[in-house]
């Protein structure tokens, strides 16, 4: 790993995603957390990966199907009678 000399950084990198998801087994979790205390680069990778996921979530949660798209969908599905039943 470029500029990232700890021997188990690469190994632990494969556990990072599972760690973020809370799916890492307790032993590996402990090992990773211990490593993170002493490894600035891995801490940066963890923090920025978490932030990446947050950023993906942030705007799109607000995006609902546009009203004109909903209307065309209902018409295509012959659900015109239910168009005014707002979700």
């Amino acid at each position: 790993m470029t500029d990232h000399a700890h021997t188990n950084c690469e190994e632990l990198l494969f556990s990072l995603s599972a760690y973020i998801d809370g799916e890492l087994n307790p032993e590996l979790c402990q090992e990773l957390e211990k490593h993170l205390v002493g490894c600035d680069n891995c801490r940066v990778v963890l923090n920025t990966t978490k932030r990446t996921i947050d950023l993906v979530h942030a705007p799109i949660e607000k995006l609902d199907v546009p009203e004109d798209v909903r209307e065309r969908l209902f018409k295509r599905l012959n659900l015109d009678d239910y168009l005014n039943h707002q979700p």
Binding site: L13, T48, R51, T52, V69, L73, L79, Y82
Partner: protein, 199 residues
Amino acid sequence: MNKTMSLEISLEALIAGDRAEFARLVDAYSSPIYRLGLRMLGTPQDAEDVLQNTFLNVWMHLSTFEGRSSLSTWIYRIAANEALMLIRKKKPEINLDDSQAGDNDEDLLPTQFVDWSALPENVLLSSESQKYLDSAIQTLPESMRIVFVLRDVEGLSIKETADALNLTETNVKTRLLRARMFLREQLSTYYGERITREE
């Protein structure tokens, strides 16, 4: 997961052909399916095609739904297939099988170590940043992107994502890790340049 997912939908009513119940189902899932289409194809027109084809298929095949997965997972499976089929149609040169997911571990290794995670929200969420993120997501290989969209954008669990895509959980985790690492690298380059510029 989206709040609409908690709506109680009667499967019995749906299978019996209850149109009002189907309309409720469409309203409950149309936003997440539209978003999936948008993230996978990148244009509102294609997202609308994915949306319409998904619900046409849902209605057509409801009677054969066996309940082996949840209704939600089943709808996502149909939507994912629709999105991938449309991609194949538009870009026949794209290979969507496993080998495209990137087997090279070298690709995974981080090269950017700028900590931009504490940048203010107005910088992280600026419209320019969002555009950059959207285009970075579009450059993910499709087989990785669909996993990323279901898991990280729509909030399905690993198991639900695996069920929806007919993949093993291990395969989902691998693709997810690669997608996250890829996007993290892209954003690190982007925000790193901004941090350097301000210094």
